[in-house]
Point group: D3
Chain length 174, copies 6
Amino acid sequence: MKPHEEHRQAAPHEVKISIITVSTSKYQDAQSGKDVDDVSGETARNMVEKAGYRLVSKKLIDDNIDMIRLTVFKSIYEEGADAVILTGGTGISSRDVTIESLRPLFEKELDGFGDIFRGVSYRQIGSPAHLSRAAAGVIDRRIVYCLPGSPNAVETALDLILPELPHAIYMAQG
Amino acid sequence: MKPHEEHRQAAPHEVKISIITVSTSKYQDAQSGKDVDDVSGETARNMVEKAGYRLVSKKLIDDNIDMIRLTVFKSIYEEGADAVILTGGTGISSRDVTIESLRPLFEKELDGFGDIFRGVSYRQIGSPAHLSRAAAGVIDRRIVYCLPGSPNAVETALDLILPELPHAIYMAQG
Amino acid sequence: MKPHEEHRQAAPHEVKISIITVSTSKYQDAQSGKDVDDVSGETARNMVEKAGYRLVSKKLIDDNIDMIRLTVFKSIYEEGADAVILTGGTGISSRDVTIESLRPLFEKELDGFGDIFRGVSYRQIGSPAHLSRAAAGVIDRRIVYCLPGSPNAVETALDLILPELPHAIYMAQG
Amino acid sequence: MKPHEEHRQAAPHEVKISIITVSTSKYQDAQSGKDVDDVSGETARNMVEKAGYRLVSKKLIDDNIDMIRLTVFKSIYEEGADAVILTGGTGISSRDVTIESLRPLFEKELDGFGDIFRGVSYRQIGSPAHLSRAAAGVIDRRIVYCLPGSPNAVETALDLILPELPHAIYMAQG
Amino acid sequence: MKPHEEHRQAAPHEVKISIITVSTSKYQDAQSGKDVDDVSGETARNMVEKAGYRLVSKKLIDDNIDMIRLTVFKSIYEEGADAVILTGGTGISSRDVTIESLRPLFEKELDGFGDIFRGVSYRQIGSPAHLSRAAAGVIDRRIVYCLPGSPNAVETALDLILPELPHAIYMAQG
Amino acid sequence: MKPHEEHRQAAPHEVKISIITVSTSKYQDAQSGKDVDDVSGETARNMVEKAGYRLVSKKLIDDNIDMIRLTVFKSIYEEGADAVILTGGTGISSRDVTIESLRPLFEKELDGFGDIFRGVSYRQIGSPAHLSRAAAGVIDRRIVYCLPGSPNAVETALDLILPELPHAIYMAQG
């Protein structure tokens, strides 16, 4: 048995997850009563539930530093999430602030999440992968993932994340 | 049509580029009237022009923090560059300061440029790739790339950058 | 002859290396007189000696910020090491502090060591590689590597590092 | 009329304030049902109310990074505070984390609050003032003050802060 | 003779100074052809010239990060300034960016300029002084001062700065 | 009894101190066998001994980042110092690196030491005080002070520090 397999067995049986979609346009549509088609958030929900984890909350918020931070803290402290998955707000325009909001709060960054995710993306879509931003880190023993907003990126990232999640949470709590 | 292809069509038709070679030895040769063979700068010029972009300036400067910063600001504000490509000064000795000069000025870093570039290099040259430094980021809606000084590295990096440049600039301006 | 081959020839003939195992449990065992089976440290020693480099010290220390820093400084200033290889203390729990101890001391980080190492790991073990942390940087012209504590990771990392070490040291001293 | 007097007239008529006492020992006492004598918090409450401002919440929390951050965000986003006054957790032991929790969240620090506060303290108590830590900054147009936990320090700091509070809030919102 | 008096004699005989007024409203007025009454800039000019220093440029610019940086670099590299005095853009609203633009470029900050300036202000105007922001630092052997935009603040700050300027420049070049 | 008086009684009875003079010119003189007149170091020694504290080491070192760091770690870990007092290397030229060496190692900075010290200096020497740099912080429960190199500055700073030292160490260990 390899070391990481051993850890995985010792990991918590029920993993609790919050999903947060970050999008100014979708948030404004929702605020003004329009129907919102949150494909990425739904992709994440389906994959999380199919993996057998427990979804404790799913929200749609504005691409705003303080709303992002408040929502993540509530996921952790009021909803009991072990992991928080954000999708959207990771682009390179000045209005994209998901990573900027959360990186300063990471006690420890999972340095490798971004490069392994992009390596997989590069094999799928080629050179546009170098423009993709993604990050993950630990806040008070929980793991927070910042994923791009496209459904394809969410799928690629969760294929990487979900099988290792109990192991990752076990390590972050260690 | 994939999302990034759609963006590419909406991108600016004419892309304006500055090329800056950073090298203390070449700069000193040029200052003392010697002929300078700037192979990397010429490689960049040829690839930029072949890609159909417009070269607005090409310079050779000293590996000096403030000269690097001033030259980049002039490219952006006085020459109207949409993207600035620097080559050289990215090594690991204390005299190499291109990345150190520009990283603190990046409003947003393109985290993935370095790792995707090195992943391609690794497949070409193997383990020496792990010693290679490269970075890219956004300064006031323009994109600034810091490439190693070897002609091979410039070629590998521009093969990655140039096809996506209109898309990248479109996103940085968003 | 490729440029990096040329550098390698000019590199110092004798490379001096310190190996430091960072582990709270092993350190406590050693302090209380128990036998300690430091597989990762021994793996590193064997590979370093097989590569023909000179081992100037090999130590086992606690996973403690200041002890890590003091031990690295002694390797450099009192034992004359050209490169320091630490193994262990790179996990994502709050008790793992090797990278946190040394990154603020790096005058220059070898940005690419972590992603190239993980890229190789990913091809070996798949998605768990994205949880792996590793870093390398320059302190006063010496190179310091922080590797995970598993023997497999040490082996993978040193396969990458050792062939390029004279070249890396040559560049760091440049 | 001096410029700052003019601003003060244009300032919001009703200023809403949250008071947060940060103390591990008092928090544990409260959790275990003991009576807690929160002299500093009560001092702050009396001075805030006497100054004619509106107290929107008053809490006692643990000296814990994430609880401090969550409580401040709730003051701002759920209770509508224009200013948040924290007392306690500003010492120099590793368990004191109020300033460490909030400084990374400040969009802008009021650099001068600490030194002016200590200058006044120095005239009152002499050299022990140089050991005193205090900080203030702006989070999303609200002002957050971190004061030491002693009632005397709270009184000295609020004598400085309260007369200028409408002006400060007006400027932070500008 | 005290040590700082000795330094002062060795200092450069002619001190060259740039004055930069940072103000979005005044800049927009100037751009649209209106008369601009730049009281603070004129106060600075009069004091600088009365002190016998040489004014090499005087400009009015927008409160914009990159314009501030470009203008300071031009003062240093194209106009030969030994010291740059900026006034305005130091407030605590998100639109005030003078200190934010320049602090990351300071190789060394003159930590004490802000607190000594505020100490003097406090004795003049009392508690509003704690809201005042000011900073100074060294960029490539030149000294850059960021002063508040009010004429009174400029006067107070320059009373502190101007007598020590040759000494400060001598030390920064050391 | 005021709170800080109470702390002082509980403080350790014997306080152990290291004194480190940082000066490139004096260090080179000492290395080449010349007599060195270390007035500031001797001033510190006399004041420390007169205050009844125990001097565990007194050294003269080069103004070099890594030598400064190594010497401070040895004071703490090998000589058992509770407090380390460095004098020199705090100026604003690029060769002065005492504060730059130690600030990144401070787990917590005593923010107020610099401004209170300068406030006292200002009353003694006037405006040159704003050019003075000084800092203090906690490294692994010990306190490290960085003082300017002039004997007058050492005297002014130690008048402030020495009476509060047992209290400060007590708090840092808390």
